[in-house]
Symmetry: C2
């Protein structure tokens, strides 16, 4: 099973190290991890600008994978990295399994209020809004409901781990739980598809 490893770790200076660590966990479960910066199956048009070649490579990676695990740890604000969220929606629309993990236990509503600080204010009905009058979504979820809804609709799991701040981008405990669940579901599915061989 090929698993696309969506997440903003590619912005780390030592991205190759975290890519190797994630691939090793996948391999231990009989799966192959595909990191966004891996060579894509087919090289995009060399005449296109660099950023668009990167886009096309990632899209080709996602299309070529059987499942996706997204690192949804809050990135420069209350929500996940938008590139990762785009990829999550993309894979969900392809109808394949998507899982997510987040290296914090704090929920979306409380993270948003913390980020807004004194800009947050109450509406007449008691709901919170920001200084521009936009409501603060709070269903006690991990992020915007589209993110958690897509994972649920795809039959995936959302794993969280409360880790020290210094380990936010390197702790792979919650990621490992996603891989284990994907591998288990894959084996169960394969067994169910071949009832005569079990």
């Amino acid at each position: 099973m090929l698993i696309y490893l969506a997440g903003p770790e590619l912005f780390l200076a030592d991205a190759a190290r975290i890519a190797d660590a994630k691939r090793a966990i996948c391999a231990a479960h009989g799966c192959t991890g595909v990191f966004p910066t891996d060579q894509p199956p087919r090289l995009p048009d060399p005449g296109a600008p660099e950023w668009y070649r990167l886009y096309l490579a990632n899209e080709a990676h996602i299309r070529g994978c059987d499942a996706l695990i997204a690192n949804l740890t809050p990135f420069r604000g209350p929500s996940a990295d938008p590139g990762t969220v785009y990829e999550l929606g993309f894979m969900r629309a392809l109808g394949r399994p998507v899982h997510g993990f987040m290296n914090t236990a704090a929920r979306f509503g409380s993270r948003t209020l913390a980020a807004l600080g004194r800009q947050a204010r109450r509406r007449a009905d008691g709901a919170w809004e920001d200084a521009e009058g936009m409501a603060v979504e709070d269903f006690v979820l991990h992020d915007n409901l589209m993110i958690e809804g897509g994972i649920r609709a795809a039959g995936g799991s959302f794993e969280t781990a409360a880790v020290p701040a210094a380990a936010r981008w390197t702790d792979l405990t919650a990621f490992g739980r996603c891989v284990a669940k994907l591998a288990l579901a894959s084996r169960s599915g394969a067994a169910a598809a071949r009832p005569g061989t079990s």
Copy 2:
């Protein structure tokens, strides 16, 4: 043509007013706008939690539409609303036209550096990174490259308008340009599909 009106305006207290304004622009171009809070084509499982019913309704809306226009105006940080970005990736994977607009002229790299403030620092190679060592993506695009790449790959356009801060969530100039381009492409496609009737 049914156009899904993705965007965080649904968080406004007067969301119905902006929904009506967007629908009127669509109608003027012979299209029908579908707002996320509209009644979905098929009501989701009433036994599911509210947030998940909202998710399923939005997913059904997107699947039922012919195209999507995303309001990608920066939302509580340098990037677009994550729910909107999820929906953009979803529609792109369905292979249908996606367009985006943004009510600011500032680019993603400079918005990110402004948000980071004094936390931004230089790597040895001159690239900017944040306090956690994550690089600041800067291809002089409007947001993360996955967002702009998806729109380009789908043949869509990315429209921007520099508007006063107070009109960030209500100015529909750039949105209107997206609708006009979609309607024009739709008419051209329809004419091309029926060469004998033109």
